[in-house]
């Protein structure tokens, strides 16, 4: 799990070199200023060392020119760092559209992952190289943080919402997964291994894994077990809206606000149905809360299922137009 260098982490993702480049730039600027100021301090101390106890220094009060220079130069340099840092950050924050989805759930003190095809693993994550992977992450208890140093990616896993993190592995190998947000007794044991594999090896690994059905299949089973399907029906006979095509669409709420129905919106609608009610189903939703009844893992499966649902026939009706 080392890079060959005993003092530098391996670089095994597409963004790793971007992050490292920014690191070396700031390191160079910092080293320049640290060395320059240190040399000046030592040189002055030697050159202007007091000879007699009552020696005094020269009568100098300041220089506006110098003040402007050493205000302006650090300002400009820090703005370069800001823009560069923001660029790298936006790359890290926006997963490519074709990324494959893996669900991750953090709980004290383990990581559970589920691949789209249904293979699950604990404290391990197998991924193909060369393909963007998007992790959608939830927490069962407290805040955790999913950190892969070799990929230079890190994201908090926050209870009450879903967060995402993406990477494209570039080098096969095994790398550390750390929990980077303190989470209690076995925080330092909440670690794992990510294995980056050639795509064909990944396929073979998936085929050999034990699957209990894909995430969407499990979600479909839950959708019926939890009786979601009694109200959310494909025709307009249900007491709730049909959910086909809702994901990614813009929905209008009872207060007139329009929001995009993303993973976090779907999650919130299950846990706190009254938080954001779709127009025509309010002001109070009749749906009960599923807080405490569905685990984060089940939620992710339900969301995966909802994503697969098609808009109801006829296709002309918008997803949220069922209230009419």
């Amino acid at each position: 799990m080392s890079s060959g260098l005993p003092f530098f982490p391996p670089s095994a993702s597409t963004v790793a070199s971007d992050v490292d480049a920014l690191y070396f730039f700031i390191l160079a600027v910092s080293a320049f200023f640290a060395v320059a100021v240190s040399i000046a301090v030592v040189a002055f101390a030697v050159k202007y060392r007091r000879n007699k106890p009552d020696d005094i220094g020269a009568d100098i009060h300041g220089s506006l020119t110098l003040e402007l220079i050493w205000t302006g130069v650090p300002f400009l340099l820090s703005m370069v760092m800001f823009v560069w840092g923001a660029q790298v950050f936006f790359t890290l924050a926006k997963p490519p559209a074709d990324a494959m989805d893996i669900f991750v759930v953090g709980k004290q003190w383990m990581w559970k992952a589920q691949h789209p095809e249904g293979v699950r693993e604990i404290n391990e994550l197998h991924v193909p190289v060369g393909r963007p992977v998007r992790l959608t992450m939830g927490s069962e208890d407290v805040i955790h943080d999913f950190f892969i140093p070799a990929f230079r990616v890190k994201m908090d896993v926050v209870p009450g919402k879903l967060t995402t993190l993406w990477f494209t592995a570039t080098k096969t190998g095994e790398y550390h997964i750390f929990c980077a947000e303190y989470c209690g007794t076995k925080h330092s044991g909440m670690i794992g291994t990510v294995t980056a594999m050639e795509p064909q090896d990944y396929e073979a690994w998936l085929a050999g894994g034990r699957s209990t059905g894909s995430a969407a299949q499990n979600g479909e089973r839950l959708f019926s077990e939890l009786s979601c399907s009694t109200c959310h029906k494909p025709d307009s006979s249900g007491r709730g809206p049909w959910l086909g095509g809702v994901f990614g669409s813009t929905v209008t709420l009872t207060d007139g606000r329009k929001i995009v129905a993303d993973e976090n919106y779907l999650r919130e609608s299950v846990m706190s149905p009254n938080a954001k009610v779709v127009q025509g189903f309010g002001p109070q939703s009749i749906m009960p809360t599923f807080q405490g009844m569905v685990s984060e893992e089940n939620l992710l499966q339900l969301i995966a299922y909802v994503k697969t649902l098609k808009p109801a026939e006829p296709a002309a009706a918008p997803a949220n137009g069922k209230e009419k």
């Binding site: 799990m1 982490p9 992050v19 920014l22 690191y23 700031i26 600027v29 910092s30 100021v37 240190s38 301090v41 002055f44 101390a45 202007y48 060392r49 007091r50 106890p53 009552d54 020696d55 005094i56 220094g57 020269a58 100098i60 009060h61 300041g62 220089s63 110098l66 050493w70 205000t71 650090p74 820090s78 760092m81 800001f82 560069w84 923001a86 950050f89 924050a93 004290q108 208890d141 407290v142 805040i143 950190f147 140093p149 070799a150 230079r152 990616v153 890190k154 926050v158 209870p159 009450g160 750390f178 980077a180 303190y182 989470c183 209690g184 925080h187 330092s188 044991g189 846990m271 807080q291």
Partner: protein
């Protein structure tokens, strides 16, 4: 106001006598001593916890302490060092002692409130220590919810109460300084004749009174969620855990400036005095303190780049974070320029300034790495952050505190300490500190997360270096206690002005009389007028 006249009256240390005269004193100088003793005790307690951490981390396995105990140890190290040592360290000791003297008055505006603030500090500290003995606390000093509010089964409520109460001591001190600096300056002591230490204390006081109430309310909300199950932060109760981080860092980032601004004030005094030269760019140094205090309130979100806060909020926090680097750089350049064509004495306070400058440079510059968002993603919550903030708080804050203590020790105690010992200790602390924390930058970039009880074996080499450095650092600190205490007993008597420095505190006897001045001083000169500076005095006449 000559020294000959002054020797006639007993110093503040001698009159009156007795324990009660100390515990009921309204003299700002005696309250400074009470604080100095208290913060030293807490520094020793916090240092003991640090020693336990470094011993555990010698090996990767986590074999000395249990995980739970380790988690409590690093939590208590942080809580005690921050709330009971670093925050009160310079303001409540050197600040308490020097603010009235430097501006030419008898005492702070509210001497009784000053004493009250010490008692509040002691009460808060006692309650926190009660938490230590009642099972400890394991949330980290950051008390992140919902771990602290529902998951942890340790004495979080007690510790939170201790921090809450201690906050009031900080608020009262800040309030007292602000009123004093506004209302009680001696005739002729205009704002731009104030020593830069006063500007720094003023800026610090602003942060104390504006920020501390927020953290007090925040820890109270944690206590309320734990005991009453009010849904504030825990999503299971309808709360928002990220809200806690906003509230917490709204105070706790500016709190870093509570620790570093007073140290910057100390360094401004020391650089001028040890170079016997007017400070370079007085008004730039003065206003950069205010700029740091004000901009410092708008950067808290840089602790939340990976916490799921909006990426656009992150952008704003990142750019403002970069801006706060500018006034810090301005100060550093001005200190360096002050030494140009100075008459630099190689006495021990100078060694502490050099230590401060070297460590603060590294601490400040590594802040840029963390302010750049894309890089912070990799670095946050690793040992890189641990190293960075120790360079600021210990490398900057503690070096500044110790530098100031060495500089004003003759004034405070009326005794001289051993010069050679002072220089050796400064070098031990400087090298020990670097050996402890520099390897943590490297191991942090490699990915070692903070607050890890056990770690992968490839990080061991750097952890051994850190632990060895910590031992050296500990010896350095112990040495200071020994020779400073020895100086009180056996040290030669200090003259009024051993450094030949300007400033009202050097015009009165060492140690000062209870009312500081025999007659109200009238200020006719700018600060740091070293063209007319008095001779350094070597012996007491």
């Amino acid at each position: 106001m000559s020294n000959e006249a002054a020797v006639q009256e007993p110093s503040y240390l001698g009159a009156p006598h007795g324990l009660a005269s100390w515990l009921l004193t309204k003299d700002h100088k005696r309250i400074a001593i009470l604080y100095l003793i208290s913060v030293t005790i807490f520094f020793a307690v916090g240092g003991t916890f640090a020693a336990m951490i470094r011993t555990e981390l010698l090996t990767p396995q986590g074999d000395l302490l249990t995980s739970d105990l380790y988690n409590k140890v690093f939590t208590l190290h942080g809580v005690i060092m921050i709330f009971f040592f670093l925050i009160p360290s310079i303001p409540a000791t050197l600040g308490n002692f020097l603010v009235p003297i430097m501006i030419g008055t008898k005492d702070l505006a509210f001497p009784r409130i000053n004493l009250l603030s010490w008692y509040i500090y002691v009460l808060g500290a006692t309650i926190t220590l009660a938490a230590v003995f009642n099972g400890g606390v394991d949330t980290g000093w950051t008390f992140y919810a919902p771990y602290s509010s529902l998951s942890s089964n340790t004495s979080v409520t007690t510790a939170a109460l201790g921090v809450f109460i201690t906050g009031f001591s900080s608020i009262l001190t800040g309030f007292n300084f602000i009123v004093t600096i506004h209302r009680m300056r001696a005739p002729g002591m205009t704002w731009f004749r104030l020593p830069l230490f006063i500007w720094a204390q003023y800026a610090t006081s602003l942060v104390m009174i504006l920020g501390t109430p927020v953290v007090a309310i925040t820890v109270l909300m944690i206590a309320a969620e734990r005991t009453l199950h009010l849904g504030i932060f825990d999503p299971k109760l309808g709360g928002d855990p990220v809200l806690f981080q906003h509230l917490f860092w709204f105070y706790s980032h500016p709190a870093v400036y509570i620790m570093i601004l007073p140290a910057m004030g100390v360094v401004s005094e020391l650089v001028a005095a040890m170079s016997r030269k007017q400070i370079f760019g007085y008004s730039f140094v003065a206003f950069s303190s205010l700029a740091i205090a004000i901009i410092g309130f708008l950067v808290w979100g840089h602790h939340l780049f990976v916490s799921s806060q909006s990426i656009y909020a992150g952008l704003v926090f990142s750019i403002i974070t970069m801006l706060v680097a500018v006034p810090s750089a301005v100060k550093t350049f001005n200190w360096t320029a002050t030494m140009y064509k100075g008459a630099i004495s190689w006495e021990s306070p100078t060694f502490w300034i050099f230590g401060f400058m070297g460590l603060f440079l590294v601490g400040g510059l590594t802040g840029l790495f963390l302010g750049a968002m894309g890089l912070d993603v990799h670095l946050t919550d690793t040992y890189f952050v641990v190293a960075h903030f120790h360079y600021i708080m210990v490398g900057g804050g503690v070096m500044g505190f110790l530098g100031g203590l060495h500089f004003w020790w003759p004034k405070i105690t009326g005794r001289m300490y051993n010069e050679t010992a002072g220089k050796i200790a400064a070098m031990l602390v400087f090298f020990g500190f670097n050996a402890t924390f520099f390897p943590q930058f490297i191991v942090g970039y490699m990915g070692m997360p903070r607050r890890y009880h056990a770690y992968p074996p490839e990080f061991q080499f750097f952890n051994i270096m850190s632990s060895a450095g910590a031992a050296l650092l500990g010896i350095g600190y112990l040495m200071i206690v020994v020779y400073l205490v020895y100086s009180i007993v056996k040290g030669p008597k200090a003259p009024a002005n051993p450094w030949g420095a300007t400033g009202l505190e050097w015009e009165i006897q060492s140690p000062p009389i209870t009312h500081n001045f025999h007659e109200m001083p009238i200020v006719t000169k700018e600060a740091y007028d070293y063209q007319h500076a008095p001779m350094p005095q070597r012996e007491v006449k």
